[in-house]
């Protein structure tokens, strides 16, 4: 079984969000980069668990990005995975990323493609569905559980106000969310092994650009909290009813 896990590089969850170049680019100055948590905690860790259950499985990691992504790719390799592929291009939009991933997937015939439910920077939740469509594969989004018996997967996915359990034959593309697996911390052996695992750098194929960022903006600052005394909760209810008009 061959598993492909897609890894995005995102700013740390606590990074200060600011923009440069007349608000058209993210200000990366001083930003700590991490593996997109949805890719790492859910997609990657679940793939590693599947390989632990079936050591004949191979895991490839894929990232679309420049050489500055190598550090987070090594971190991902420390958690697991046999080798990594970096498509050497700064993607213009999600369709560009999906086109590159689909090209590698076509060449390698993966049984399973895992991604996080979304990146925490662009919140697009788009690449998984695009890859599935480009490969003409089924796509199960927002998966919270994934079990495999032979070539049949049983997957639980989120729906509004509940969940749905379904089965599908491999190959399949899965976007992963909370519940799939638990966050792991790489151990020293993993970190040492990651240094020598192959990280192939592949040049991109031509890809269409369907969208472009015109400008970023920050939400208006909050006016500040209005505190109500703990002995006077009726006042809070009055404010919510008469001032905020939400109840």
């Amino acid at each position: 079984m061959k598993i492909l896990v897609c890894i995005s590089k995102t700013p740390d969850t606590t990074a200060k969000i600011a923009f440069t170049d007349n608000n058209t680019k993210f200000d990366a100055a001083g930003v700590q980069w991490i593996i997109n948590p949805n890719d790492e905690y859910y997609g990657l860790v679940r793939a590693v668990e599947l390989k632990e259950a079936d050591p004949s499985a191979t895991i490839h990691l894929i990232n679309v990005g420049g050489a500055d992504a190598d550090a987070i790719i090594r971190k991902a390799l420390a958690l697991g995975g046999d080798e990594a592929i970096r498509i050497n291009t700064e993607s213009a939009d999600s369709f560009g990323i999906a086109t590159q991933i689909a090209q590698v997937a076509r060449e390698n015939n993966y049984d399973l493609i895992f991604l996080g439910k979304e990146t925490i920077d662009y919140n697009g939740s788009s690449v998984g569905g695009m890859v599935a469509e480009l490969l003409d594969l089924p796509y199960i989004s927002l998966a919270t559980k994934f079990e495999l018996a032979g070539t049949t997967a049983t997957v639980t996915r989120e729906i509004e106000g509940g969940e749905e359990v379904c089965t599908v034959s491999l190959p399949v593309v899965i976007s992963c969310t909370k519940g799939m697996a638990e966050q792991r911390i790489p151990n020293m052996r993993g970190i040492m092994a990651a240094r020598t695992k192959p990280l192939k750098v592949v040049e991109p194929v031509a890809a269409d650009t369907l969208t472009q960022v015109a400008a970023f903006s920050l939400p208006p600052a909050k006016a500040g909290v209005k505190l109500v005394d703990a002995d006077n909760v009726q006042e809070l209810v009055r404010l919510l009813h008469e001032e905020a008009k939400v109840i």
Partner: protein
Amino acid sequence: MSVLIFIDINDEGSVKKTSFEVLTYGAKLARQLGVPAEGVVLAPVKEDLPALGKYGVQKIYQVQHEALAHFDAQVYTSAIAQVAEKTGATVLVFSNNTDGKALAPRLSARLKAGLVSGAVALPDTGDAFTVKKSVFSGKAFADIKITTPIKIITLNPNSFSIEVGEGTAETASVEVTLDAPKVKILNVNRQSSEVPLAEAELVVSGGRGMKGPENWGILEDLAKALNAALACSRPVADAHWRPHNEHVGQTGGAIAPNLYLAVGISGAIQHLAGVNRSKVIVVVNKDPEAPFFKAADYGIVGDLFEVVPKLTEAVKQLKG
């Protein structure tokens, strides 16, 4: 040229609330562009479709096919693509809900149509076609220009007010050719009595300050009095005090209710990422230094075990 709005139906045959939002949004966009607003329904539906005209949609295409009995992103994508091609749709509108997140990207790739997911406002359709969306987990916005002839937008739930007017929609059936779905549904587990969290206008949420799952009764009472949905912070879901689907935050669900009432949650930046699009945030915490107060509109510094029952009583009094 038309705006085609995906009308999402739940497994019980009812139109989802998020569909009323996208119908309103799509109809306004169609008026802005001077083209017809049309809807498409794929799943079996129990409701009266012509009545959806009151949200501004003029025509609804209905596709009836055995392959559409249950949601499958691949088959649904094929059906919508065929309807879009037959009807000459130039803008496709979805909710950014669970089904929209599965369908819109597939259609984007299939139709080579630029996608903006998580839109929070109507597009600017002057010189270009630019859509404002939420990015960096609610900490910023981006105006995204779609540069393709066909455009796709998914609208964030609870970010556009539903408007009801007069009108009846014409209905028409469309024939499509579909393969059998590759995904088979085994079962659906739904807490049917409760408001789905992503669609809820009011949300009551509990954190570690609740001290244990046995104490959730007071939050349930408050949620019931308000007719609110329940949510929780990540430590609460990780400790299995509450189910994962109630977890909101960076790695849980992202919500944008009218009221987010956080009880015993300190307000770590990862939690705020899931809730900072809420219109009004109320924080109840015994620690006056809790970072959540900086992001809140209203707050009470106090013992939640005393404050919450009093709040429930005050809400009940208000509602009489």
